[in-house]
């Protein structure tokens, strides 16, 4: 695919936001978005993990999976790589940077099974991105996820004081807001299409 990594980076934040156009990574998005502070921590962790795992998974895919002709096993292998990477990062961060651990590290276990992260690795394969493209796509998608959860957290914080009908409280309201946000993001989609 002949798309500039730079454009891909911005596109994955705005025009094809992984959360708002693909609705991936919803579970932690809905459960952690109660407070801006923890949303920022989780979003940053997602950004870091997506960037690093797209890079690792690209290498694993092109150096192991393709030569060994086991493409049908890519899902399992990607998940194992992501899980192990998250665990290792957690251990390392906890030891060497307690400050970072308390602001970010504790969210790492939450995103081991975040489908956005697996989704990004799979998109990178389906769309046949180069290494540079993959990394910028991973980073952009992570930032896009961070942006989406921060927006929702901001709105939810303001909603705390407002009256919400019983049936819509909690996840119901969050999903409505997400839908409206996704509509707003459609406005970007005329700029460039990376699907």
């Amino acid at each position: 695919m002949e798309i500039s990594p730079w454009i891909l980076f911005w596109a994955s934040i705005f025009t094809s936001n992984i959360l708002l156009t693909n609705f991936l990574g919803m579970c932690s998005y809905l459960s952690v978005s109660r407070e801006v502070e923890s949303s920022f921590g989780l979003g940053t962790a997602v950004f870091f993990v997506t960037t690093a795992t797209t890079a690792i998974n690209w290498v694993v895919y092109h150096l192991i999976i393709v030569p060994a002709d086991i493409i049908y096993l890519q899902y399992i292998i990607f998940i194992i790589v992501i899980a192990a990477f998250v665990q290792l990062t957690e251990i390392i961060v906890e030891r060497f940077s307690p400050v970072l651990y308390y602001s970010l590290g504790i969210f790492l276990p939450l995103i081991t099974v975040n489908c956005a992260i697996l989704g990004i690795s799979l998109f990178m394969i389906i769309r046949d991105y180069s290494f540079i493209q993959s990394v910028t796509f991973g980073a952009g998608s992570g930032l896009g996820w961070l942006l989406a959860i921060m927006l929702l957290a901001g709105i939810r914080t303001r909603l705390k004081e407002k009256f919400i009908p019983t049936g819509l409280q909690g996840a119901g309201m969050s999903l409505l807001i997400t839908g409206i946000m996704a509509l707003a993001f459609i406005g970007f989609s005329g700029i460039v299409n990376v699907q």
């Binding site: 086991i70 399992i76 251990i91 906890e94």
Partner: protein
């Protein structure tokens, strides 16, 4: 051919997983090794543990059982304790469970605090005292046709520190046709000052796994496993009048309380209502009566709901509630301690409230 390929693919997958697993294990061994850490509990006891795991896990390994319902995932908030020093900053995962005042008072969730260095904690005395005991049956007394008193000698630890009214959990092993080991709670009926022994009063429940074992299989000299003490059913230290109400084996905690109060020279006015069906359900009557010599104002009222003609019963009959006015001097200044079945507790609580005893002064231990 095909089967070679399958084997080859499995090997690659196993290779990748194995490599990553090894990496994690090595990283854990090197990086999560915090050496020996010392935990100072309530300033009374110091334990040395291997660092790296959560406070909850470490304490459980030391046989200190902080309550936990979710098993350490930070979702129940039951394992609250105070970490005075060395616990690190409060995590966002803990914040929802505390008020700002509790947070500034060093409250933490034990499952979220990792032991990485020497730390100083405070836990409620009741939890701190909970131990697992090895004990030996010293004596079995038959109180009625279906109630036995079993006395245990504590082997290790040798001593138990409890408040009169608390209960322990007794573990029954597999026996006969019963293929599972169960734990059941029984109130301690002996007095706290008897610290090397425990007496439990156990009524045989039809089809009950643990009670059948106690009644039909437990022999003097046999070793058992007991954990405790648990519970917050104990005498409040006030000067209010006391009214005790018990039924069946509910006599156990009240007996412990009375013995304890007698030793402490309690001067409060006390009355004790014991409800039973017939005369053959009564036990320890003379012993309970004898407490009137140890207290300035104590009365024991055994009450039969269904006395039989052969009982020649001349005492009180019917339910216990109608007899309360005889003993109530000043309902507002009366504490009630109830022990019995949930149905009896509900009925007696209702009766007491109607007579004007404040609800927050009615304490009970209900057994199902």
């Amino acid at each position: 051919m095909n089967y070679q390929k399958i084997l080859y693919e499995i090997l690659i997958l196993a290779g990748i997983s194995g490599l990553l697993a090894t990496l994690i294990v090595v990283a854990k061994a090197i990086l999560q090794n915090y050496g020996d850490c010392e935990i100072d509990i309530n300033g009374k006891r110091k334990v040395t543990v291997k660092g790296g795991s959560s406070l909850l896990t470490v304490l459980a390994e030391e046989n200190i059982f902080v309550p936990s319902a979710c098993g350490g995932r930070g979702s129940c908030g039951a394992c609250k304790c105070k970490v005075i020093d060395g616990g690190g900053p409060v995590l966002p995962t803990e914040k929802p469970y505390f008020t700002p005042a509790e947070l500034s008072d060093n409250n933490r969730l034990a499952c979220q605090v990792k032991v990485k260095n020497n730390i100083k904690i405070e836990i409620p005395e009741e939890i701190f005292n909970i131990r697992k005991f090895k004990a030996k049956v010293a004596k079995v007394e038959e109180f009625t046709y279906d109630i036995k008193g079993v006395t245990f000698d504590l082997i290790s630890p040798r001593e138990i520190d409890f408040q009169a009214g608390q209960y322990v959990q007794l573990r029954s092993p597999k026996y006969g046709k019963i293929r599972e080991s169960v734990t059941r709670a029984y109130s301690i009926s002996s007095k706290p000052s008897l610290e090397n022994q425990l007496q439990l009063i156990i009524r045989k429940v039809p089809e009950g796994i643990c009670t059948t074992w106690v009644h039909d299989f437990l022999k003097v000299g046999q070793e058992v496993e007991i954990t405790g003490p648990y519970g917050d059913f104990f005498i409040r230290d006030t000067q209010a009048d006391i009214i005790f109400v018990a039924g069946g084996s509910g006599k156990a905690p009240i007996k412990s309380m009375l013995e304890d109060l007698a030793e402490k020279g309690c001067q409060r006015k006390m009355s004790y209502f014991f409800g039973a069906r017939t005369a053959k359900d009564l036990y320890l009557t003379d012993y309970m009566d004898s407490f009137k010599d140890k207290f300035p104002d104590f009365t024991y009222y055994p009450i039969l709901s269904h006395p039989e003609a052969t009982d020649n019963w001349e005492g009180k009959t019917g339910f216990v509630m109608p007899h309360f006015p005889d003993a109530l001097r000043d309902p507002k200044n009366t504490e009630a301690y109830l022990c019995g079945s949930p149905g009896m507790i509900a009925a007696v609580t209702k009766g007491l409230k109607e007579l004007g005893v404040p609800e927050d002064k009615i304490y009970y231990d209900s057994f199902a």
